[in-house]
C-alpha cells in the first residue's frame, strides 16, 4: 500500500493511457479528425504552458513534465467535434491553460476544471463549429482538408444522437418513434468506461465520484421518464450517449477541482449526474457535462467543509 505512485506525473500519464480505448473507438467510427485535434491541442498546450511558465519565472521542464497540461489538452480535444477547424482547438486549449489554470497559480490552484472551462468558452463563443459533428468515418486527407483548409464541413457532418433526439422532441416527436441508439457512441462510451475501470483498479481515481455520477444520471433520468416516458430519454440511453462515460471517469474525477472527502465525492458526483440530465433535458445545449461540472466546481469548498470524515477521538 505504501508509495503507490512515484510522482504526480505518473498519475497523469495513467489517465492519458486510460483514454486510449475510448479514443480508439472514436477513431474507428469517426476517423482521423480526433487524432488531428489531439495533436493540435497537445502542441498548443505545451507551447502556451511554456510561455506562461517563462513569464511567471517558473521551471519549465518540471511543470510541463507533470503532464497536467497534456491531459487537459487531450480531454478538450476529445470533447470538441473532430471536424472543427484548427483554431477551435487552439483557442480552446489556450483559454483553458491560461484562464483555467495559469492565472490561478498553476496546477493545483484552479477552482474550475480547465478542460471544461475551455469547452464552455468554445461552446458559447462558436456554437456552430462546436455542434457540427462528423457523421461517418473520415480519411486522413479529408480530415486535413476540413480542419486546415476550412472547407465547409457540411458534407461530412451529422448531428449527434442527443442533439437529434432533442430536436425531434421539441418538434413534437415522441420517444417511442425515435431512434435512440447510436452504435458508434455506445462503443466510444464503452471504451471510456473500460479505461475508467482501469483507473479505478490502479487507484488513480476512487470509486465514489463515478458511481455517484452514474447513479445521479440513472435516477434522475428514470424519474423523468417514469413520469412521462414519451417525452423523456430513458436512463440507459443517457448512459450510452454523449460524453457520459468520459465525464464520469475522466472529467468529474479531476482531483484538483472535485470534492476530496469520501462523502463529499458521493454528493458531488450525484448532483453532477443530476445536473447533466437536467441540462440535457431542459437546457439549450445538447450535452450538459461542461456546465454541470463548472457549476459543481463552485460548490466544492462548501461540500468539503461539511463532509469532513470523523476524526479519531472527536
Amino acid at each position: 500500500m505504501a508509495t503507490k505512485f512515484d510522482s504526480t506525473s505518473q498519475m497523469m500519464r495513467q489517465a492519458i493511457y486510460a483514454l486510449a480505448l475510448g479514443i480508439g473507438a472514436a477513431y474507428i467510427f469517426f476517423g482521423w479528425g480526433i487524432v488531428l485535434q489531439i495533436v493540435l491541442a497537445v502542441i498548443t498546450a505545451i507551447t502556451v504552458e511554456s510561455v506562461f511558465l517563462k513569464i511567471r519565472k517558473m521551471p519549465i521542464t518540471s511543470a510541463i513534465g507533470d503532464g497536467s497540461a497534456v491531459l487537459t489538452a487531450v480531454l478538450l480535444a476529445i470533447s470538441i467535434p473532430s471536424i472543427a477547424p484548427w483554431w477551435v482547438a487552439v483557442v480552446g486549449v489556450s483559454f483553458a491553460i491560461i484562464f483555467g489554470k495559469q492565472l490561478y497559480g498553476g496546477l493545483g490552484n484552479n477552482p474550475f476544471n480547465p478542460a471544461m472551462l475551455g469547452y464552455a468558452f468554445l461552446l458559447i463563443s462558436y456554437p456552430l463549429q462546436m455542434t457540427t459533428w462528423a457523421g461517418d468515418f473520415i480519411s486522413f486527407a479529408q480530415a486535413l482538408d476540413v480542419v486546415f483548409n476550412l472547407s465547409p464541413a457540411d458534407a461530412l457532418s451529422g448531428a449527434t444522437r442527443l442533439d437529434e433526439v432533442k430536436t425531434q422532441l421539441s418538434l413534437g416527436g415522441v420517444i417511442s418513434e425515435l431512434t435512440l441508439h447510436s452504435t458508434a457512441q455506445a462503443w466510444v462510451n464503452m471504451g471510456f468506461l473500460l479505461g475508467g475501470l482501469y483507473l479505478l483498479a490502479r487507484r488513480v481515481i476512487f470509486w465514489q465520484i463515478p458511481a455517484a455520477f452514474l447513479s445521479g444520471i440513472v435516477i434522475t433520468a428514470f424519474l423523468l421518464s417514469f413520469g412521462d416516458s414519451e417525452h423523456y430519454l430513458p436512463a440507459q440511453n443517457h448512459l450510452m450517449l454523449g460524453g457520459t462515460m468520459l465525464g464520469a471517469f475522466f472529467i468529474a474525477t479531476d482531483p484538483v477541482t472535485a470534492s476530496t472527502t469520501p462523502k463529499g465525492r458521493l454528493i458531488y458526483g450525484f448532483l453532477l449526474g443530476m445536473l447533466i440530465v437536467i441540462i440535457r433535458t431542459f437546457g439549450n445545449y445538447p450535452d450538459g457535462i461542461a456546465f454541470a461540472v463548472l457549476l459543481m466546481n463552485i460548490t466544492v469548498p462548501l461540500i468539503d467543509y461539511y463532509t469532513q470524515p470523523k476524526v479519531f477521538g472527536k
Partner: protein, 504 residues
C-alpha cells in the same frame, strides 16, 4: 484467551511498509564496555536534574549521579565505573541540535557495581514503594518517547487494563523482537510487577503478527490468566498508543486526554524488562538494546550497550561501508536525523539507521488526489490541511482538526507529489500556538485597558454622585440654617419686644 485480531486495520488507515533492511537472524550482541559515557541531565519533561557528583569523583556502575527532584524526572545512574571527567554541555541526539548539559564518565575498565538489592519478593511491598523505586531506578519509556514510567501510576483514576506495547513501532526496528526472544522470562515478570502495582484486572501484550518466534516464546512462559497475548496486523502506526488502544479495546482517547484518564496504562515491552531488572535484581537502567540497521551497514543487528556510549561505538560493530551516510535515530518514519555519530545513546535511542544519502526528489504541486486521506490513521484530510497550512490560515486548519495530527508521516510516504506534508503540519501547529498565545496576550492587555477605562469612568461618576449628594446635604443644611436663622430672628425679636416692654 488468545485471539488474533481480524484486520479492521484497513479502515484505520496506516500503511504497510516493507522492512527496509530485513535481518535473517535477529539476535542481541553484547557491545564492549565503552571508554567513556556521556549522560544527559535533561529529560523529556521537567527541569534538568541536578548532579550529585563532582568532576574528579570516582563512581561505580549503577551509582546515582543525579537525583530526581520533581515528579516527572527520574534519577540518573553511572552506566560504567570510573571517574567523572566533565559536567558540561555536549551535543545530544535531539531534534533541536542544541547542546545540553551532560555528565561525562571515563571508564576504569573494571565495571565495578555499586551494592544493589531490589524487592525480589515484591508482592509483599506497597505498590507506592515500588513506584518510587522505579523512579529511583531511572526507568522511562524505552519505546522512543521516554515518558517517565512511574508518572503513569501516580494518577487518581484506578487502572483497569494494562497494555504492553510490543509492536515495534516502525519497520526496521527489531530491538523489541530480540528482547522478547531473549528475555521472555524477565518480560513476563515485569508484566506481573506492573499488574501488581497498577491493580489492573488484565494485561494485554500486543505483538505484531510477523514476530512469531517472539510470540511463541512469550506464550510458552505465560502462566498467568490475567495476561493476554494478542497479535495485531503488522502495519505502521498500529503501535501508536492511542491507535493501539482503539484496536485492542475499541476505545478512542480524545486528543486532549491521556490513556490513564480512561484507566488504561500503556507500557513498552522493553520497559517491562527494565522494571523487572530493577525490582527483582535491584539493577537500575544503565543499558539498553539498540538496533543498528540501514543499507549503509553490512551487518545490521541489535546491540546491548551501556547508556551514554557514543553512536559510533556500536555502529562500528555493524560494519558500516564507506559511502556518505544519512544517520537517523529512531525509525525511518518518526525518527530524527543526527549529523554526527559522536552523540550518546540515550534511554530513548531504540534504533540507529545508517542509510546511504539519497538524491532529493522533485516536489510537485498538490492535486488533491486523496491518496493521503486514505492512509491517515486518525481520519484527517491532509490535502485540505496542506492547503491551509501553506497559506498560514491556521484557524481554518484547526477547523479541519489540525490538532489531531499525530505526525506519523503516512501521508508523506504516499504523496505522489512528494510534499513533506507533516513538516507543514507541525509548522502550522507551532504557528497556531504562537498566534493563540499572542491573542491571549492581546486579550489580557485589552481587558486590562478596558477595566482601567471602566475604573476611571466609575470613579468619575462616583465622584460626581458624591458631589451631588454633598451639595444636596449642604443645601439641606442651609435650609436647616434658614429655619435656625428665623428662629434666632424670632428670639431676637422677642428679646427686643421684651426690652421695649421693660422700658415701657
Amino acid at each position: 484467551m488468545f485471539k488474533k485480531l481480524r484486520s479492521p486495520a484497513s479502515q484505520l488507515g496506516g500503511i504497510v511498509i516493507a522492512n527496509p533492511c530485513p535481518v535473517d537472524n535477529v539476535e542481541i550482541i553484547q557491545a564492549p564496555l565503552p571508554d567513556k559515557v556521556v549522560l544527559p541531565l535533561q529529560q523529556r519533561m521537567g527541569d534538568e536534574v541536578i548532579p550529585c557528583v563532582k568532576v574528579g569523583d570516582k563512581v561505580l556502575t549503577g551509582q546515582v549521579i543525579a537525583q530526581a527532584q520533581d515528579a516527572f524526572c527520574v534519577s540518573i545512574h553511572a552506566s560504567i565505573s570510573g571517574t567523572v571527567v566533565a559536567i558540561d554541555a555536549q551535543t545530544i541526539p535531539h531534534q533541536s541540535r542544541l547542546k545540553s548539559k551532560c555528565i561525562t564518565i571515563k571508564s576504569d575498565g573494571k565495571d565495578e557495581w555499586v551494592e544493589h538489592k531490589g524487592y525480589a519478593d515484591f508482592l509483599h511491598e506497597l505498590p507506592q514503594t515500588l513506584v518510587d523505586y522505579i523512579q529511583q531506578s531511572g526507568i522511562v519509556g524505552l519505546g522512543g518517547a521516554g515518558f517517565p514510567t512511574h508518572a503513569k501510576f501516580n494518577t487518581i483514576k484506578p487502572c483497569h487494563t494494562l497494555i504492553i506495547n510490543a509492536t515495534e513501532c516502525e519497520p526496521g526496528i527489531m530491538c523489541d523482537d530480540a528482547l522478547m526472544r531473549h528475555y521472555a522470562c524477565e518480560v513476563i515478570r515485569g508484566v506481573e510487577i506492573l499488574l501488581y502495582i497498577s491493580g489492573a484486572n488484565q494485561a494485554i501484550i500486543a505483538i505484531e503478527d510477523d514476530k512469531q518466534k517472539a510470540y511463541q516464546s512469550l506464550l510458552t512462559l505465560t502462566h498467568n490468566d490475567k495476561i493476554n497475548i494478542v497479535q495485531i496486523p503488522t502495519k505502521y502506526t498500529s503501535g501508536a498508543e492511542k491507535l493501539l488502544i482503539r484496536s485492542l479495546l475499541d476505545v478512542e482517547i480524545p486528543a486532549n486526554k491521556f490513556a490513564v484518564d480512561e484507566g488504561i496504562i500503556c507500557q513498552n515491552i522493553a520497559t517491562t524488562k527494565a522494571i523487572s531488572d530493577a525490582v527483582i535484581k535491584g539493577k537500575p537502567l544503565i543499558s539498553r538494546i539498540v538496533t543498528v540497521t540501514g543499507d549503509g551497514v553490512a551487518q545490521p543487528n541489535n546491540f546491548e550497550v551501556r547508556l551514554g556510549a557514543s553512536f559510533a561505538h556500536i555502529v562500528a560493530l555493524a560494519r558500516p561501508d564507506s559511502h556518505p551516510h544519512n544517520n537517523r535515530m529512531g525509525g525511518i518514519m518518526m525518527g530524527i536525523d543526527v549529523k554526527t555519530l559522536e552523540v550518546p545513546i540515550c534511554k530513548v535511542s531504540n534504533c540507529i539507521f545508517i542509510n546511504h544519502t539519497k538524491a532529493k526528489v522533485n516536489i510537485q504541486e498538490c492535486i488533491r488526489c486523496g491518496q493521503c486521506n486514505q492512509v491517515c490513521p486518525v481520519g484527517l484530510l491532509p490535502q485540505q490541511l496542506y492547503w491551509y497550512a501553506k497559506s498560514e490560515n491556521t484557524d481554518k486548519a484547526m477547523d479541519y482538526n489540525l490538532d489531531s495530527c499525530i505526525e506519523c508521516r503516512c501521508c508523506d510516504v504516499v504523496c505522489p507529489s512528494h510534499i513533506p506534508l507533516t513538516q507543514y503540519f507541525s509548522f502550522a501547529k507551532a504557528l497556531h500556538r504562537q498566534k493563540t498565545q499572542g491573542q491571549q496576550k492581546v486579550d489580557i492587555a485589552r481587558e486590562r485597558f478596558e477595566f482601567r477605562e471602566y475604573r476611571l469612568e466609575r470613579n468619575k461618576t462616583e465622584r460626581t454622585k458624591m458631589m451631588a449628594r454633598k451639595k444636596e446635604e449642604l443645601k439641606q443644611k442651609m435650609a436647616n440654617d434658614k429655619t435656625q436663622k428665623s428662629k434666632i430672628a424670632q428670639a431676637m425679636a422677642r428679646v427686643k419686644q421684651e426690652k421695649n416692654g421693660n422700658k415701657i
